[in-house]
């Protein structure tokens, strides 16, 4: 049993951290995260260059990592610098290609790894609420290819993605796990309409609709109608990534708050000398350590063959960071007092991200219920 990072990972983390500290301070982050594109193509390119995306994928497919610990490390670092950008999309689409892509389809991985192709995962719909199996978007066979029709909701960077991974129903009823298929759709395919917008926590997302979009035969990723298992695996990577991102943001929110408690004076003493606040910070510390453990458990389980054990660890992690991240956000704002409410303070943006992570790929209630339903 060993919780230390190996040398390669340590170097990657150092390089990433150094780059972000220097080139992506809070004022830059906010400018780009709340800007027209919601991210900085330059920064994204540089992240790819340093290897942040390659580290998410196995060597056999051109990456140089891809283990749970790699993913956790990259996203924890992104979280601690509050990086807004399409890295999650690269991870999810990349892992989908790794898991189920034909040789031809896997050719697309290179563009993801070098950052030249922006990918997005389009699964949520206006009428679902985090459920994996509720897919109303349809794809029907049409000659050799397919016709895709429907609408996807809140697709991160869906307005700018060149490559969309879309879940669609090729059989069965809304709510059936059977009959779901996954498709690779060019962002500029005729009939793809997007309505992009900024997000409250920075970054962009979009409503994406498909109006009888014609797709070639090789748009289908994996087996027809058997996409649910793949969807679950892909989302599992997302759960790990978001959990680790949350952890990074929590640690930073905690550190900023500690610093504030040490320096801010009231009634003639640092407010960190008030015991009630000390005990709340101690509680927060305990919670953050639990969140870290949850992320470690999820990282260890991500490649676990036993589905129940794997998915339980993933849902446990997302539930834990959902609950703890929200607590950390609310408590660290409160402990800052008025200043914690201001746009100027980096913490406020960490807090927003922490809460919003609970709205991606299933919130704490969703994952607690899912955990309970996952039985041997």
């Amino acid at each position: 049993m060993n919780f230390e990072l190996n040398e390669d990972r340590r170097m990657l983390a150092d390089a990433l951290g150094r780059f972000l500290s220097e080139q992506y301070p809070p004022e830059v982050r906010n400018r780009v995260a709340y800007g027209d594109q919601g991210y900085s193509p330059d920064v994204y390119g540089k992240l790819a260059e340093i290897g942040a995306i390659g580290a998410l994928l196995p060597e056999e497919q051109g990456g140089f990592g891809g283990e749970g610990a790699d993913i956790a490390l990259v996203f924890e670092t992104l979280g601690s610098h509050l990086v807004a950008g399409p890295v999650l999309g690269a991870l999810l689409v990349g892992r989908a290609l790794v898991l189920a892509g034909s040789d031809a389809q896997q050719q697309r991985l290179a563009g993801l790894i070098d950052g030249s192709v922006l990918a997005a995962f389009a699964h949520d719909e206006p009428a679902n609420h985090y459920e994996l199996e509720r897919v109303a978007t349809t794809a029907r066979r049409d000659g050799d290819g397919w016709v895709l029709h429907g609408a996807k909701a809140v697709v991160p960077f869906g307005d700018q993605a060149q490559l969309l991974l879309v879940s669609a129903r090729t059989a069965g009823d809304v709510g059936d796990a059977q009959g779901i298929s996954l498709f690779l759709v060019p962002g500029d395919a005729p009939g793809v309409k997007t309505r992009g917008y900024g997000r409250i926590d920075g970054g962009h997302a979009a409503e994406v609709s498909f109006e009888n979009v014609r797709l070639d035969a090789d748009a289908l990723l994996g087996g027809e109608g058997e996409g649910f298992a793949l969807l679950e695996r892909i989302v599992g990577y997302g759960l790990l990534a978001l959990s680790a991102e949350s952890l990074g943001a929590m640690e930073r929110a905690k550190a900023d708050t500690l610093e504030y408690l040490r320096t801010r004076r009231q009634f003639g003493v640092p407010i960190g000398s008030f015991q009630a606040l000390q005990h709340r910070m101690a509680d927060l510390l305990l919670e953050v350590e639990q969140a870290r453990s949850a992320v470690i458990n999820a990282a260890a389980a991500i490649d676990e063959g036993d589905r129940i054990a794997r998915e339980k660890a993933l849902s446990a992690a997302k539930y834990s960071v959902g609950k703890i991240g929200t607590l950390v956000a609310e408590e660290t704002i409160q402990l800052h007092g008025g200043i914690g409410m201001t746009w100027e303070l980096p913490l406020a943006h960490y807090a927003k991200r922490l809460v919003m992570i609970d709205h991606q790929l299933g919130d704490m209630d969703h994952h607690l219920a899912r955990w309970m339903a996952l039985r041997d």
């Binding site: 609420h129 609310e330 704002i333 809460v355 709205h359 209630d365």
Partner: protein, 398 residues
């Protein structure tokens, strides 16, 4: 022990309801219910409507244009207004400065300023907080130095809510530098339309800009704008802070939020059933509703005690804490109910009159922003930690 409202109280409730039905503008109520941001006109308009009826400064004495309402009547008004979507009254003139002037102001000050609050001639803001002195007013740094028939004021105020609209500020400034802590502070009325007053917006985390910094550089304040005695401002400030506020628990706000939440939860589907039937979500909703039902009675108990001649002191701390916890929990549940649609943030959708179709459910436009914005409830107006200190000292005797 009688928990029923009296027939007189019920009749009053009907009167209030009928008035709101007739006079509260529909579009304004819709904005409030949607959680959209109000314009200055919205607020002034509603003040004017209430003033015409004589209900604007309802807790003032009748001689100054108030009502003779009992605490229960005030509660009923607040409750009905919130349910109907009435905007919160801007408190600075009506609820804050007004009572101070009535208690401590000179006759001239009362005659000059009180009517102007009622008719909207002045829009007041509060100059209490300073950078480095939030809940700790004793460390106030703004100074006022007497020069002939004026004070010259220098300093910086912050968290000045709606300062961008204000033409007047009531302000605490240090008039005796030698005095310690809270003594040596005076309570001044400052005309903001003069050189040396600069208002800079502070953007809050949700993107809103309702609070401000106010910089005061050699600002001149005529001596007649000193309220009460020089160096006694702390007494007046404390009075203002502990002034009986029937609405502090925000019951009306919570009742309206709960109704909104229930409506949303009946519409949003999870696993093919309304969210209201999801065990996890339904449990959270039930817990907060029971908490609210209990708090309504706690609030009424405090009001009944006031009506019976009791003096609410730290009880308002109790109501403040519990009230904000419940309001924040309700806003949190509304946010959660939005699922992924809590993420989009479209500035234009925070205001009424945005012509575009909504992204996601209509309530989603403001759900997350409101949740973040209202984290302030437990911070401003004396943070919940300060309130616990007060309870600890005053009620618990620790």
């Amino acid at each position: 022990m009688d928990l029923q409202f009296t027939p007189e109280e019920e009749a009053f409730r009907a009167e209030v309801r009928a008035f709101l039905q007739e006079h509260l503008p529909r579009d304004l109520a819709a904005k409030v219910k949607a959680g959209q941001r109000l314009t200055r006109f919205d607020q002034e308009n509603w003040h004017a409507i209430l003033n015409k009826k004589g209900w604007l400064a309802y807790h003032w004495p009748v001689q100054w244009g108030g009502t003779a309402w009992t605490p229960i009547q005030k509660f009923i008004f607040d409750d009905e207004s919130a349910r109907a979507g009435g905007p919160r009254l801007v408190p600075f003139g009506i609820s804050m400065l007004g009572p101070v002037l009535i208690r401590y102001g000179s006759e001239e000050q009362k005659k000059h300023w009180l009517p102007r609050i009622l008719d909207g001639s002045d829009w007041w803001c509060q100059g209490y907080s300073e950078p480095g002195a939030g809940s700790d007013l004793a460390s106030l740094k703004t100074t006022a130095v007497r020069q002939g028939d004026h004070y010259v004021v220098n300093g910086q105020k912050t968290w000045t809510t709606q300062g961008q609209h204000a033409n007047m500020m009531f302000c605490l400034a240090r008039t005796d530098k030698a005095a310690k802590a809270q003594s040596g502070i005076s309570f001044l009325l400052i005309d903001m339309n003069q050189p040396g007053v600069e208002v800079r917006p502070i953007r809050t985390l949700d993107g809103d800009a309702e609070v401000n910094e106010v910089f005061l550089t050699d600002v001149r304040v005529p001596l007649e704008n000193l309220v009460g005695e020089e160096n006694k401002g702390w007494t007046y400030a404390k009075y203002l802070l502990t002034y009986e506020r029937t609405g502090i628990a925000g019951v009306g706000f919570s009742v309206a939020s709960l109704e909104k939440l229930k409506l949303i939860a009946s519409r949003v589907q999870r696993n093919g059933k309304p969210l209201a039937e999801d065990p996890q979500f339904a449990t959270r909703m039930a817990q907060v509703e029971i908490d609210l039902e209990n708090m309504k009675t706690t609030n009424l108990r405090v009001l009944a005690a006031v009506q019976g001649g009791g003096v609410p002191g730290a009880e308002s701390s109790m109501l403040k804490i519990r009230g904000t916890v419940i309001r924040q929990e309700l806003l949190s549940l509304i946010r959660r109910a939005m699922g992924p649609y809590a993420l989009p943030y479209i500035e234009e959708a925070q205001h009424a009159g945005w012509g575009e179709p909504p992204v996601g459910p209509p309530e989603a436009a403001t759900a997350a922003a409101a949740y973040f914005n209202y984290r302030k409830l437990s911070i401003f107006g004396g943070s919940n930690e300060i309130q616990k200190n007060i309870i600890s000292k005053t009620i618990l005797g620790l």
